[in-house]
Each structure stands twice: as C-alpha cells, then as structure tokens.
Symmetry: C2
Subunit: 241 residues, 2 copies
C-alpha cells in the first residue's frame, strides 16, 4: 500500500473545519533562507485554509498574543548570524570585516579627542576583550599609538593599572575598579555598564573620579555617545555606497 | 574633568542634522527581554530625532531593504530559545515538557492507524534521533508497545533493519535505504526529507515500495500529514486552555 499523504492531509484539514478560525499562530524564524521560507509557505497555506492568522515576530511577544507558536528551526547562533551581516550595512562593526569602527571605540576616540588626550606612546590598559567594548577599544588605542595591555578574567593582572595613563573599562562588573588601583591623573573611560540593584553602574567605583584627570560617569558618559556613533557610522556607510 | 556624555551626544546628533533623514535602519532582535527592549528604545529615540526609520525583522530581508543593520546581541541559541517557549502554545513539541506529540510522530501514528498496523509487540527500527523526527517517533512506537531500536550514525547497526516489521526513517540521507536491507512486507515510513539535485528525496530508495507492505513516498507521504498535525496540535492546545 502506498500512502497518499496529500489525501490524508486533506481529510484532516476538512475534519478541522472551522474549529480554528480566528486563532493566531506565532512564527519565530531564526534563519530566513530559501529552504526555511519554503517550509513557512507550506504551513502558511494550510493556516490560510483554516482561517488561522500567522504572525511573525519574537518569542516573548508571540507568547503573549498567539494561541500557538512555531519556532522554525534551525536557529542560527550568533556567529552564523553575524557571518550573514553585510559589512556595508554593519553599523556596529560586528561582521567579520567591518568597514567602520565599533560605536564604543568611536565614543572612546571622541572622548580622548575632546579631552585633548594624545594616546601615542602612552600606556593604556583595556579591561575586557569583548566584541562590543574591549576588543575594538584595544584596537583603537593601538591605532592611536598607545602601548596597550588587555586584561581579562583569565589573562593579565590588575597590577597593570598602577602605571596606566589611559584605562578603558569593559568588564561589566559593577564598581570593582577602586581609586587605590589607579595612577593619579589617569584618563578613565568606563564602558562597563551593568545593572546592580536595579540601577546602572559602571565598572569603576564613582570615587575614582577623585583620582582621574578625565572620568566618564555611568550612566551619562560613554553610553549616550556610543549610541549616536551608531548613526555616525550609518552616515559613513551610506556615503561610501 | 568629568565627561558629559549626554552633551557630547547632543552635539553629535546636531551635527548629523538632516543627513540621515529617510534612511532605514534594520534591527535584528534575538532575545526580546526587558534589558534588550530598553537598549532598543534608547537607539530608537535617537533614530526618531534623526528621521531614521527603524525596521525590525530578519536579517536577509533587512539586508535587502535597509541602509544599515543592528544585530541586537545577545542572540539566543536554539536551546535557550526553546526554553522560553510556553508548553501550552508549543504546537511542535519542541519545549522541555511538551503537552502534545511532535507533528511527525502524529503523522506516523495516523499512517499506522489508517493502514491497520498494530505496533504492539512488533519490532520497530527508527533511523535518526533528532528532535523533529527520530526521537518523537521512537517514543510513539514505544508508547504503542513496539520493541524499538534506534539507529544513528554512531549507535546501532543497519543490520537491525533485516527483521524489522516497522521502520521509520529520519536521517535526511537521500535514498540510502535499499530494498535489500529490508524484511519483505515491512511497514516503511519515510520522514527523512532532504534535497538532492534540486528535488525532494526521502531516505528510502523509491524501489523500496516493491518490498514494503505499507510505503510513504517523498514528497507526498509523511510531509503533508505532519504539516496539518501542527494545526491539530493547535486545536488540542486551544481546547485544553
């Protein structure tokens, strides 16, 4: 016996009749390639026949507003997703070969320039090596001619801070940098925003402002500047293209 | 010097002026929690002031239609995303404690029942152990009282097929099951859809239909039934709630 799946499917659809009319089916799509789109089309066609509305969106929203949810597999991981990001549209510099600098690094650059700090031949310490803050800030400081030490939880020592002229913080550990750890007169740029007790905190204890010659508070320091740098990057990319 | 990030940001926004008006900024959101939403709100506010339209969606679409793209990190991986899927809306049975059976397993169940096959005390072999086909089909067959052997690339032997009464295929290897590997009269349910040379193929060589007593072709066998089972699951969940 050769099973006629289409016929059986038809009978089941007929059996469902009007029972699902007006229901909403949420659809989370993590990888919108051609194969995925073709699966979605097949499901959407059945939904239409049954009077079920298909709503594409993000899971928390769909979980609130839909009767059922399809998570269309595969879901790409971060690396796979970023590999699909075209560099000429990548305002955050997250793709493999970005054409602009990360917004936080642009903010650090702006702050140094407005404070009249020349980084060349200075000792700079960057805490953290993440894609958003640490890695691009270290690259910026190298490009500006500083000698750069990068410290992470597993590499380098906080002792390096003792003779650093410029410090960029990107660890996300609220208040763990204390004034005693720093060289007086240091340029301290705190991009380590995290939440502690429901309020935004930087990596630096606010008392660090007493020893620093240049200090960026959290909130109200690096954050707002980094946000607008997204748009300056957008302008750069738009003008290039 | 304490850096006033807000003021610097204001000056940069003023400097951008009208240069970005009418541009479109795509936004890929992989994890719509409160922290993420708050970051998105901050960026959207700046976009609005600059006359930039923010468009949320999936990367391939945004890459075609926007001038710049933000991938709002973190992107959840599959496991993290599925952990957020409420079981009472989970029509595909992908969450940790699903309330319905996976659509493919429902399709297998429907096919067995329509073909008048009683699985109790039969020997069943399931090829593949994936979340969508292999694992839920093996569970179904166990629930129906069959003795079930699961074969994957690293576990079990295809020799098991020789005396299997019921076989469910979910490997995604086009045409690799040949008639010689099967017991004559086998119930052969092929859910192993894959693409080969631009056309849909099952795991079974179509010649298997000559030795099988029940055979599901690809396309037109399990696939269409599994799709409508999504909707039968939706009805089950809607009625429960």
């Amino acid at each position: 016996m050769i099973i006629d799946g289409k016929k059986i499917a038809e009978e089941i659809v007929a059996g469902l009749g009007e029972s699902l009319r007006g229901r909403r089916l949420g659809l989370v799509v993590g990888n919108a390639d051609a194969a995925t789109e073709s699966f979605i089309k097949i499901k959407s066609r059945v939904a239409e026949r049954l009077g079920v509305e298909v709503v594409r969106g993000e899971l928390p929203y769909l979980a609130k507003t839909c009767d059922g949810i399809i998570v269309q597999l595969p879901i790409l991981n971060t690396k796979e997703l970023l590999a699909q990001l075209p560099p000429e549209k990548d305002v955050d510099a997250l793709s493999t070969r970005p054409l602009v600098r990360a917004p936080v690094a642009e903010a650090v650059s702006e702050i140094l320039s407005r404070a009249g700090v020349a980084a060349a031949n200075k000792k700079a310490v960057v805490i953290g090596a993440g894609k958003l803050v640490g890695a691009p800030s270290a690259q910026l400081l190298k490009d500006l001619g500083a000698r750069v030490a990068v410290i992470t939880q597993t590499h380098g020592s906080l002792e390096e801070l003792k003779d650093a002229d410029i410090v960029v913080l990107g660890a996300g550990e609220p208040g763990f940098i204390k004034p005693e750890m720093l060289k007086p007169g240091v340029v301290l740029i705190d991009a380590g925003t995290s939440e502690a007790g429901g309020k935004l905190m930087g990596d630096a204890d606010p008392r660090c402002s007493e020893v620093a010659s240049v200090f960026t508070p959290v909130p109200g320091g690096v954050g707002p500047i980094a946000v607008v740098m997204i748009f300056r990057n957008l302008l750069t990319l738009v003008r290039r293209s």
